[in-house]
Amino acid sequence: MTLPMTPQPGALAGEHELVQLLSPDGTRRHDPRFPDDDVEREQVEGWYRDLVLTRRIDTEAFALQRHGELGLWPPALGQEAAQVGSGRALRPQDFAFPTYRDHGVAYCRGVDPTQLLGLFRGTELGSWDPQEHRYGLPQIIIGAQTLHATGYAMGLLLDGAVGHGDPERDAATIAYLGDGATSQGDVAESFVWAASYQAPVVFFCQNNQYAISVPLERQTRVPIAQRAAGFGFEGIRVDGNDVLACHAVTRAALQKARDGGGPTLIEAVTYRMGAHTTSDDPTRYRTADETEQWKAKDPIARVRAYLEAEGATPDFFASVEAEADQLGARLREACAQLPEPDLADLFSSVHTDLPPELAAQRDDAVAWQALDERGAA
């Protein structure tokens, strides 16, 4: 026998009002807590380009999986505004710790989109230098990256990199996580440490409503943002399909962190329009009606509507589209060209000084590989 468990919309709404600066029809609104008067049309055009290119990275990689070129792909479709808005709020010295779905954040951090493919083609475990881009490698373990972000933020405190009022010097970290991750022990531990040390970390939760097939009401009975209060820091709920709001709220939270004000939990309310991964079939656990409702809140359509009303030219949109097509072709080509991994690389990125036992194992492995290739030739 199971206890009846019905969703309680009232409990989920709570007092955490959604911050929205651009409505689904493309109208700008203002919120005194998050001033965005400095955001001009040119900047929004830049974000529009970011959103369209992010979506193309995602849909092209999805198609590459269906071509048989990738083993797996976790789509970010529908979550572009949350990723671009927050990603563009970061300064070069900040450090982002992502999940495996944050392709748009990677793009904002200057990671070449072709570098996102190797992990999912099984040729590498992440090929960019996290220090160079200040962007970590995709974390597969749900929620573990919140510990890394918190630890790194505590390190920033020890380094004295916080609270000087110097925009070039003060730094913060941002941890990306999903709604499902909030049920993980790692995340609770991160919240405890971040709060008690007032660490300069922003927890950016993309609440996309589902942890694979598990709906939000099985993770929490209150808005996710409300959970922060129990740990002793601030939680904010933002329209995750609104790139302006995501940018403004993340910018404010990061600044607070850099100024020594401690952590913030941002709940970006969004929707995963696609499947959990290419191996998943979402029609088994959610209705077409629900997906249609979210389609009307598309993060790109509202920016386009705003820009059109502001007088952006058809040429602008066409040029972005052409750039996206080029990017798509480049991704397809690069995917087929990804080099086979070298067995020796397995040993190269863990220890600064390789212990003698591992060095011996590496030499054995390389010798075995050479033998194998001779045999196959």
């Binding site: 026998m1 092209e60 071509h67 070129e69 797996l72 083609r121 088994r284 045999g375 196959a376």
Partner: protein, 421 residues
């Protein structure tokens, strides 16, 4: 000429079924145009084109089950140079080289050079080549395309080829019109539906059951007027306001109660262990006709539920089944099945056991029939139905089977008897 090999779209799948081709031979396609819908063990998936060009050949027919790595389509490229790489590059599908002794597969074996030149003839033997309209024409006339001789040297069957084949078959059939059964062209010429999906799984399960478990079926015809009266009363009861009260619900409850007295009817024959397994609780399967076919969602621990809980559980599962969103887990763990054939207006049948179960109850139509009132010896109109119970004679003998069926009948005839169980 690049070929599109069936990819592994779901981490470890080995095969998929071709459901619908969205393109025909000769069509121009762009990169990422949808080519075909395939159904895997997990879901129906659209495959986008890796190539731009003209569809040269469709190498697998709708309804075919194809192994991962098998070429399903050839594209003649728009630009001959710079043909993309070919084959299933990643995934767990079959490899073109034997992998032995823990050796690595040789790198570069999947480069473009290994593609079309020597391969294209091979798939012809697997499936006849024809454009979708020709396939439909052949299907509509009951013709197996593999029997048709193509006039095209490339082996592609045209509509004219099918018409010629049809004409020759008519000629063959004509000399023997006096034998009505002879070639039976009229019965052969019907709609052809590929055996696939739920139909295929149902067939496999039924064949396995029919040829594994020795079936015995018993019937009883029973006056269920008291049950119908109870259904009416419960429908007006506030506690049942959110429950869909049906005669099936009362039958389900009666089955749970009767199984308590005769658990043999849901015991399981474990051939491997040479044991008969008596489950702790009743996993009650409710056979449901859906658009996808026959599905049997299961109410777990049905015997621990109150009538209202059972009604809600059945209602939810049946609704989910009709929506087509039942998950495999909701169809597992059944120990006994009820099939309500009465909704189709028939009196009874000999139900075939769900594989692994030892009992199934078919409930016939409940309608007004003449009945002899035992007290007055007069014929009176009553609500009457026929119950048919099949059981696995390896596990259950006539004694237990009869007692179970008689118990269910008695409970439906006089629900108050539930107090005695």
């Amino acid at each position: 000429m690049p070929e599109f090999a069936l990819p592994d779209v779901g981490e470890g799948l080995t095969e998929a079924e071709i459901v619908t081709w969205r393109v025909a031979e000769g069509d121009e396609v762009q990169v990422n145009d949808v080519l075909v819908d395939i159904e895997t063990a997990k879901s129906v998936v659209e495959l986008p084109s890796p190539f731009a060009g003209r569809v040269g050949a469709i190498m697998a027919a709708e309804g075919d089950t194809v192994a991962v790595g098998t070429p399903i389509l050839r594209v003649d490229p728009a630009e001959p140079e710079g043909a993309p790489t070919n084959g299933v590059l990643v995934g767990y599908g079959p490899r073109d080289e034997a992998v032995g002794g823990g050796r690595r597969r040789r790198r570069g074996a999947h480069a473009a050079s290994s593609s079309a030149t020597e391969v294209p003839a091979a798939p012809v033997s697997v499936a006849a080549l024809a454009k979708p309209p020709v396939r439909k024409f052949a299907k509509d006339h009951g013709i197996d395309l593999r029997e048709v001789t193509p006039s095209d040297p490339a082996g592609i069957i045209s509509r004219a080829d099918v018409e010629a084949h049809l004409a020759s078959r008519r000629t063959d059939a004509e000399p023997a019109p006096s034998e009505p059964v002879a070639q039976a062209p009229t019965s052969a010429a019907g709609r052809r539906v590929p055996i696939a999906g739920v139909r295929k799984r149902t067939a496999e399960a039924m064949v396995q059951s029919a040829f594994t478990a020795p079936h015995v079926t018993e019937w009883v015809t029973v006056d269920v007027s008291a049950t119908m009266h109870l259904v009416e009363r419960l429908r007006g009861d506030r506690e049942f306001s959110d429950v869909k009260v049906t005669p099936t619900l009362i039958v389900a409850k009666a089955v749970c109660l009767a199984l308590r007295r005769t658990p043999d009817l849901h015991a399981r024959w474990d051939e491997d262990a040479q044991e008969i397994v008596f489950p702790e609780h009743v996993g009650l399967g409710i056979a449901t006709a859906t658009e996808r076919g026959l599905l049997v969602p299961v109410v777990p621990d049905a015997d621990t539920m109150t009538l209202a809980e059972l009604g809600r559980a059945i209602g939810e599962l049946v609704a989910t089944g009709r929506e087509g969103t039942l998950q495999p887990a909701q169809m597992a763990g059944g120990t006994f099945t009820i099939t309500n054939v009465g909704v189709f207006g028939v009196d009874a049948g000999t139900p075939i056991l769900n594989p692994g179960q030892s009992g199934i109850l078919a409930v016939g139509a409940i309608n007004r029939r003449p009945w002899v009132d035992e007290a007055t010896d007069e014929i009176v109109p009553r609500w009457v139905t026929t119950l048919a119970c099949s059981f696995d004679h390896r596990v259950v003998d006539g004694e237990q089977g009869s007692r179970f069926l008689a118990d269910v009948a008695a409970l439906l005839s006089d629900p108050v008897r539930a107090l005695t169980f």
